[in-house]
Symmetry: C2
Subunit: 518 residues, 2 copies
């Protein structure tokens, strides 16, 4: 599924050649590239079953309705023709209204990065891998588990820049050592200073989202009109499931929609806790919440890019703890893709696990998730690198484990070449029964690029591996993330832009930043 | 994809109730069941591309040919009309001959176990998970890595009996502490004594395969005629790739085919070493070798059950070491399934990895393989439990890791129920916006069976997990395999049959067993 971009940046060229500017040997990585799943999506629900979920969701929106906790949002919905409870927060939607609004959203769009070579397309069979987001804790196996902090956040962003398979930024860690009112300035500012990939801003109140958009505008060196015409920053809105949207998120949605900036609407529907215990029920609620959020955005900003988000999983019914990478999660991701395609919307799901350690459990839960995301034609795969502990923690080692599995999927979904030469008849004639192919012409012409070269897998024999310290994959991942960090080079930025951006951040910090109510 | 058998054994019923005969609590497991992939196979090659591989394979068989090292086999082939080199071992096949012979093999068949509730169907969308096979070494994280031995072989078979997702026996370890000439008697005999699941015999010479069949006949308590009518033991034949079949394997094939016992024909085509470096080339060679072996079997025993085996992977081109669970492996497994279906034959592939430790690498390489096997409609998934180190070693902990991933796949491929009640509208009406579903009627009616219950995954929070010793998944797998071993109960066997079987084994050992030349 990999297609090399036709105009790679010179930094990209250097990386592919395995050398940095200093001439030091770099770790093997796939190049920065467009990624697609060229095969039809894997579908486990029939068309009738998808229609049943659709119909049931419309029933939920029409009969039960959704709580919109912000008065301004209810006023907008009332003016647009929704049935708004005069004495409360409940909003009910007519089915025709929902279908008309959803149809306004684009089926594909581009998010622009400050380095335009880093812009990405969302929709169709495009795949974009995003790193861990929003976790309050971080760990590595030497330093242990610790609260989110700015130093680790910066290191995570450096890794996001170094790793070619990371296709955009997220708030990779919550730096809780920074005061809450100015934290959003660092969360967005550091993305723009440390990386040249597309930026994320939290949808948590008016002032915060407007400041974030201003930082992105400065970093891109564009004017307001260009920002409106070119989606340049994205956000995620989680419903407060069940069936509720809160005030700061709704304010953020309004401001993003007014400026045609992409919003990923992701209900967090844990079956058995915040959603019905049945997978079909949790998906129905997910669908109702997603349609409500997307409809609202299309009222405020018709044609605003949105992504249909799915995050349906289950809880451990003995403890109430959330579970991820389970059979139920796999099924929900696959059906979620079918629902998103029902509405011709780009789709977001995630590579997740509930493990307390970057071990075999974190790995199998993650790879189970990953297959579901790629098979379902997920366009935006969140938490693709470094999630742990059900979202309570990021892990440096898990980033490297995930890098190997993500790259494996990228290569596994590249079509096999069945052209005449590749069928190998000449090689078989040359080698014949009982021979070997190591020195064959056919081999020599291809061996350097024939196979994926891993970054983490160790295929040496037992004796060699033992002599070299018998490091397991998690221990090797620790070494590798440090080597990747050492490869970091700041991407170029116009000095005038850098000065304007840092001055803006400094001024807003002096002014006290913003609260969710601002 | 799980369907409970209509007539579960009483032992099966006890297990499902979570109790042994002693009343002790058992670990949670899915029941013994028929497993299917109810969705269409995932196909990455076009029909034209599959035809290109088919045509190229026939070209190989017609122009290059295959070395059959056994004179008796060449005589059989010559009598059947093949073009046999009078001065050598090369045999060339006319394309019409190959197509006619392949068509004689059944597309589906049953292998009968000594306990008929354990018999399994091969073909269509049936899936059967078989454990690790043939490895010369074994390890657990306490005892370390050691050579194959009878005590560990017995423990592995006990696990195969206890684990419901293990659908049949293999030679799970090479017990090299037993003398070579009598080892095959223990390899087969212990399967029949320790388990009641279907048995495997090595295809390594006439006397060995005939003794193995006799042991199976005794264990099943049937006569020769019934044995001929009911496939009761299976074997694997690996080509000596490239394009060569050796003497002991050919003798075994002849005897199995004469008695209509199933043979899995699996070329071992490592791209870049024993096969062309291109995946299309390695698959062409795999296909030619498989067709040659299957054609030969159909000459000897028309209609004999066979399985099309695929084991195409790649080597590390820097070291020559075999690699597994790679992108190339995933693609080869998926295309292999398409080739097997081209010939309407059951398909075998494997859950494999090249890791030196039951760690994250072993896990992601394994889960990558596992997805490919299930998506490709593999009917016989070899090495599903416990493979390590590219086949040089089995691992007790990996058996438990694999049990979790295999069970996850079984549940993930069970269709979602989209019936009206499952869509959860009543639950959403009851709970409403902002509520939670823990106490809802809809939840209470379903919570005990709504979700897959894991055997290895630990979803407790960080603090609880820390207090309980902070064991990673590999360490927990160690504990769990010992608990599973403690659950072992010998399956019932008629005392007269047991006596006859043990007497046969004892007599053949006294007589000195057999060599590959016998």
């Amino acid at each position: 599924m990999a297609r090399r971009d036709s105009s790679p940046s010179s930094a990209g060229r250097r990386r592919r050649e395995g050398k940095g500017t200093t001439g030091a040997k770099r770790l093997p990585q796939l190049s920065w590239q467009t990624v697609r799943n060229p095969y039809p999506p894997f579908e486990i629900a029939s068309a009738d079953e998808i229609e049943a979920v659709h119909e049931a969701s419309l029933e939920v929106l029409q009969e039960i309705g959704i709580n919109f906790l912000l008065g301004e949002a209810r006023d907008i919905l009332k003016a647009a023709g929704a049935d708004v409870d005069p004495d409360g927060t409940r909003v009910r939607f007519d089915r025709a209204m929902v279908e008309e609004l959803i149809a306004k959203a684009p089926s594909q769009f581009t998010i622009h990065a400050r380095n335009l070579d880093r812009s990405r397309v969302f929709g169709g069979n495009h795949i974009n891998f995003f790193p861990v987001a929003g976790n309050p804790n971080i760990s590595d196996i030497e330093g242990g588990r610790r609260s989110g902090n700015l130093a680790d956040y910066r290191d995570l962003l450096r890794l996001a820049q170094v790793i070619n398979a990371v296709h955009g930024c997220t708030p990779m860690l919550e730096p809780i050592d920074v005061e809450p009112n100015i934290r959003y300035l660092d969360i967005v500012g550091e993305q723009l200073l440390i990386t040249d990939k597309i930026a994320f801003g939290y949808s948590l109140g008016r002032r915060k989202i407007l400041d974030a958009l201003e930082m992105v505008r400065i970093a891109r060196g564009i004017d307001e009109a260009t920002l409106l015409a070119e989606p340049s920053m994205w956000t995620v809105v989680n419903a407060n499931s069940p069936l509720q949207l809160d005030i700061p998120m709704l304010i953020g949605m309004i401001e993003m929609a007014r400026r045609q900036q992409p919003v990923v609407v992701t209900p967090f529907t844990l079956a058995g806790a915040m959603a019905p215990v049945s997978i079909a029920g949790a998906l129905t609620q997910q669908n109702a919440e997603a349609l409500a959020g997307i409809s609202f955005i299309q009222i405020v900003g018709p044609g605003c890019p949105v992504v249909y988000g799915g995050f349906t999983s289950n809880v451990d019914m003995r403890s109430g703890a959330p579970a991820f990478g389970t059979p139920e999660y796999v099924k929900a991701v696959l059906v979620g893709g079918q629902l998103a395609r029902r509405y011709r919307l780009p789709y977001r799901s995630s590579n997740v696990n509930a493990s307390n350690w970057p071990d075999a459990q974190a790995t199998y839960e993650g790879v189970m998730s990953l297959w579901a995301t790629v098979l379902s034609h997920t366009n935006m795969i969140m938490h693709s690198f470094g999630w742990l502990e059900g979202g309570l923690r990021g892990s440096f080692e898990k980033i490297v484990i995930d890098l190997e599995t993500v790259q494996t999927m990228m290569k596994a979904f590249e079509p096999v070449d069945f052209s005449r030469d590749e069928l190998g008849l000449d090689a078989m004639r040359e080698v014949g029964p009982g021979g070997h192919y190591f020195g064959a012409q056919h081999t020599l012409a291809r061996y350097e690029t024939a196979f994926y070269q891993p970054i983490l897998s160790d295929w040496r024999n037992w004796e060699t591996w033992q002599q070299d310290g018998a490091l397991d994959a998690t221990q090797r991942a620790h070494r590798i993330y440090k080597e990747l960090l050492a490869e970091y080079e700041a991407p170029p930025m116009d000095p005038a832009i850098r000065e304007e951006l840092t001055a803006f951040i400094a001024r807003r910090k002096r002014e006290g930043g913003a609260t969710a109510d601002d």
